[in-house]
Each structure stands twice: as structure tokens, then as C-alpha cells.
């Protein structure tokens, strides 16, 4: 997508509610929000942060403290480690979810490859949300645990293959 495909003024005249709805719908398609109702997700969106990145601009680097999960709203980003591309993420993909649980250092570099809009959902906002809506918060945390367990299984598999 070029800058012409995504003019700046398009967002200026877009109603915030409409934008929030598209963010909520995108989150709902991810396994993080399985079993969470649209209205509950919509209530969280005002506490999420939309950031705009230019091509080749780093979103975060390995070794920096992470604070939250990020969702690609528009554009494209690349996940790299030691200069090797591990994954290319498109709208609807999310990354950095480990930071929702613990204050750990980021384990990979993530860089925008096109003009991109990234939505951040930060750990302290998640904690506030859990305090206000514990039932929905519990569903979210179960989803997160499932994703992290799956990632752990995949990592173990890769380590096992290396040892063989």
C-alpha cells in the first residue's frame, strides 16, 4: 500500500466511533478476544493507542522493555532477529503479547515495511480493565495463556529438532 492509497485526510474526516468499531472488529478476529462480546471490546478501544509508522521505521527493538501487545491495523510490518526475517505481519496480525503478562525485554526487532497504523494495548490498561470487568478479563487472560502455551510448545519443538 502506498501513501496515496492511504491519505492522511481520510482519517481526519472519519468518525472516531467508526474507527473504534473497525479496531474492535479486527481484535475480535484474533484468538486473544475469543468469547468476548463486541460491546466489551468497544469499551476497551478508547484505552488503546494508534500510532503511525513510516516504511523502515522501527516499532520496537530487541532488548527494549515491552509494555503491551500491538495489532497491525493497516500496512505491513516485519519481525526480525539478527537481521533474519522471522515473519511478515499484515492487517489483523498481532505481536508482542508476552509483554501483557510480564515486564520482559523484547526478543525481536519489529519494523514497518509500509506506511502502517499499529494499535497498542498496554499491560496497565489491561490491569485496569480486569479490575473493572473481571469476568471478561478472565476470558482474555485464558485466551492469552492458551496463545503463550501454544508458543511454548512450538519453541520446544524447534529446540527438540535442533538437538536431534
Amino acid at each position: 500500500m502506498t501513501r496515496d492509497d492511504h491519505p492522511v485526510w481520510a482519517n481526519l474526516f472519519r468518525k472516531p466511533e467508526e474507527k473504534n468499531l473497525s479496531i474492535a472488529n479486527l481484535w475480535l478476529k484474533t484468538p486473544l478476544f475469543d468469547g468476548i462480546h463486541l460491546n466489551q471490546c468497544l469499551a476497551m478501544v478508547p484505552d488503546m493507542h494508534i500510532r503511525n509508522y513510516s516504511p523502515a521505521e522501527p516499532i520496537f527493538n530487541m532488548g527494549e522493555k515491552g509494555l503491551g501487545v500491538a495489532l497491525v491495523l493497516t500496512g505491513q510490518v516485519e519481525v526480525q532477529s539478527d537481521g533474519k526475517v522471522l515473519a511478515t505481519l499484515n492487517p489483523g496480525d498481532f505481536f508482542g503479547e508476552v509483554a501483557l503478562v510480564v515486564e520482559e525485554l523484547r526478543t525481536a526487532d519489529v519494523t514497518a515495511t509500509k506506511n502502517s497504523e499499529i494499535v497498542f494495548f498496554l499491560r496497565p490498561h489491561l490491569n485496569e480493565w480486569i479490575a473493572k470487568r473481571p469476568r471478561t478479563g478472565a476470558i482474555f487472560m485464558t485466551n492469552l495463556a492458551r496463545i503463550l502455551a501454544r508458543r511454548l510448545g512450538q519453541a520446544n519443538e524447534i529446540l527438540g529438532q535442533r538437538h536431534e
Binding site: M62, G63, L67, F120
Partner: protein
């Protein structure tokens, strides 16, 4: 750019002092309503968990904030309704009690001189009484009127508190998000990380101090009630509130009961000494049981740093400096440490 200018220590220091300057600038701009804003933030911190509970029951943001506005009005209004007449009366009445206080002070000084003489100490009671009399003459009616006016202006600005608290509960989150949106992409997560750590530290400190003051006020009130002082709750509240001023708070809390005891007719030395005993007992319980459990966990500062900080801040800003020294130092420590760690990780990334 010189390499030392790009070092994390220098960059952290520059950003740190820039943030302090912005804070000082806003404090100066908000000076006319600073007391109201500070008290509102304290109430907002206290009512935050209540707001979460209300939202949990299914109430919307506006309804929840409305209920808490009522709570804030009651929290601020009721003590004011109770205290304003008592304190105004006390200020107006103090001029009348000055006469009897003068006689009683003379009696106390003569008693001390007499006891001192028995122990072989020579105390010039006449000279001491002259000094006290000259000081009391300066403490004339005009001083009392200006103290009364100051009290009324503080009361007036406190009336704004419930409304500021209402808007903080309703809109603070979105206002904060808008302000933080100005952060550049590179420092977005670092900025929020520092904000949340500072906010957590301040909230914990404010909640701990309020609970500690409450416990101290209850102990002192019971003590004054047992000793037979009039308005023991007011005297206990004054002791609790003034305890926020490090080191001189206990002495300031002792002044109102001492004034009452000195102005009493007939003068009773035991009654006067009981005020000191109440303060000593209340602060002993506070320092042995309450402070180590509540405050020590809230701020992790070296005692020497606290003492030096209070002296420097007190010297620069007076009473407010002494009150703000501990939270400022606690916040400054987190701010600088997190800035340094964050910028250091970015710097080492650039080098490798």
C-alpha cells in the same frame, strides 16, 4: 554530535530536568487553584478503587462519576461544615484568651523557675516573661484577622474540589491518553512505562499517607477525649493532617491543645502536660507500628536522602517544600532510573 552528549546518562539528565521544568511551569500557572487541584487528585486516587467497583456493577462512566461527585461533596463538605464554625470561633476567641494565657504563662514560668531553684539552677523568670509578653503583643488582633481570612480563602478554594474530582474521575483517562499521544514513536512505550510506574508510586504513597494520618487522628482524638479536652475530634484531625509535615508536624499539632490549656481558667499544669503525653503516645504508636508497615513500603528511599531532601526543599519552598519533598524524591528516583535504563537499552542497540 559529541559522543558524551549521546550518552544515556546525559540524555536522561536533560529529559529529567525538562520534565521537572514543565512540572514547575504548570505549578506556577495553576498556582491560584493549586490547593484545589492537589486535593482533587488525592480524592481521585482514593476514589479510584470505588469507581472500579461501581463500574463492575454495570454502572456507566457518567453515573459512576456522578455518585462519586456526591461522595466527594460529602467527604469535603461535611468536615468543612463541622470545622468552619469551630475554627472561626476559635480564631475569634483567641484574642480574648490572650489575657488569661499571659497570666497562665507567667504562672508556668514562675513554677519552672521555682523547681529549677530547688535543683540549684538559676532561671531569670522576669526576663523570660518580658520576652513572652512582647511576643504576645505582636500576636495582636490583626494577625488573627489575617489568619481567619486565609482560612476562609482556603475553604473557598476547597469548594471547587468536588467538581474537579468529578471531571478527573470522568475524563482523566482520555485526557491523559491525548497528552501522551504527543510522545514520538521511538519513546512511546518507554514514556508510558515511566508514567505508569510514577503513577503507581504516587497512588501508593497518597493512599498510605491518608491511612496513616487517619490512624494517627483516631489515636490522638481518643487521647484528647480521655484527657478531657474540648472538641477532641477536631484536635485529633489537626494532629493527623499536620503529621504530613516531616519533623515539625508533631510540634505544630501540639499548638492548638497547648493554646487551649494555657487559656484555661483556673490554670492546670497536669492538663497542659497531658496534651504533650497524647502527642508522644500517638506518634510512638505511629512510628513503631504504622509507618514501618504503610509508608516504608510505599517509598523506598535512603533515610539520609530523605533528611537532606526535606532540609533543601523546606529551605527553598517552606512548608509546602517539606510536604512535597518525599513524594518528589520518590518520583524523581523512578523517573531518572527508568529513563536511564530505557535510553541505555536504545543506546547499546545503536552501538551494536
Amino acid at each position: 554530535m559529541n559522543s558524551w552528549l549521546r550518552s544515556p546518562a546525559v540524555q536522561s539528565s536533560v529529559v529529567f530536568f525538562a520534565i521537572v521544568l514543565v512540572f514547575v511551569f504548570f505549578s506556577m500557572v495553576l498556582a491560584p487553584v493549586l490547593i484545589s487541584v492537589v486535593v482533587s487528585f488525592v480524592l481521585y486516587t482514593l476514589l479510584g478503587p470505588v469507581n472500579n467497583s461501581l463500574v463492575r456493577t454495570g454502572l456507566g462512566r457518567n453515573k459512576s462519576a456522578g455518585i462519586l461527585l456526591l461522595a466527594a461533596m460529602i467527604l469535603v463538605g461535611l468536615p468543612l461544615l463541622y470545622l468552619v464554625p469551630i475554627i472561626s470561633e476559635a480564631l475569634a476567641g483567641s484574642a480574648k484568651t490572650l489575657g488569661s494565657a499571659r497570666t497562665n504563662i507567667e504562672q508556668v514560668v514562675e513554677l519552672i523557675a521555682l523547681q529549677g531553684a530547688k535543683l540549684g539552677l538559676s532561671i531569670d523568670s522576669a526576663q523570660f516573661i518580658d520576652v513572652v509578653n512582647s511576643r504576645l503583643t505582636k500576636y495582636d488582633q490583626s494577625t488573627l484577622i489575617s489568619a481567619s481570612n486565609y482560612f476562609l480563602s482556603v475553604t473557598g478554594s476547597l469548594l471547587l474540589v468536588p467538581f474537579i474530582t468529578f471531571f478527573l474521575i470522568r475524563d482523566y483517562g482520555s485526557l491523559r491518553n491525548r497528552v501522551m499521544a504527543v510522545l514520538p514513536n521511538r519513546f512511546f512505550e518507554l514514556g508510558w512505562l515511566i508514567y505508569f510506574k510514577v503513577a503507581d508510586q504516587l497512588q501508593m504513597y497518597v493512599r498510605s499517607v491518608i491511612i496513616q494520618q487517619g490512624i494517627l487522628a483516631i489515636i490522638a482524638s481518643i487521647g484528647f477525649w480521655l484527657a478531657g479536652y474540648p472538641a477532641p475530634i477536631v484536635l485529633g484531625l489537626i494532629v493527623g493532617v499536620l503529621s504530613i509535615i516531616p519533623y515539625i508536624g508533631p510540634a505544630l499539632g501540639l499548638i492548638p491543645p497547648l493554646v487551649i490549656a494555657i487559656g484555661m481558667e483556673p490554670f492546670n499544669l497536669l492538663f497542659l502536660l497531658s496534651a504533650g503525653l497524647v502527642i508522644v503516645v500517638a506518634y510512638t504508636i505511629d512510628n513503631i507500628l504504622v509507618v514501618p508497615v504503610l509508608i516504608a513500603g510505599a517509598v523506598n528511599l535512603h533515610p539520609l536522602l530523605v533528611i537532606v531532601g526535606i532540609i533543601i526543599f523546606g529551605n527553598a519552598l517552606g512548608m509546602w517544600g517539606m510536604i512535597l519533598a518525599i513524594p518528589f524524591l520518590a518520583v524523581a528516583k523512578i523517573l531518572y532510573r527508568e529513563l536511564f535504563v530505557g535510553l541505555h537499552s536504545m543506546h547499546s542497540r545503536r552501538i551494536t
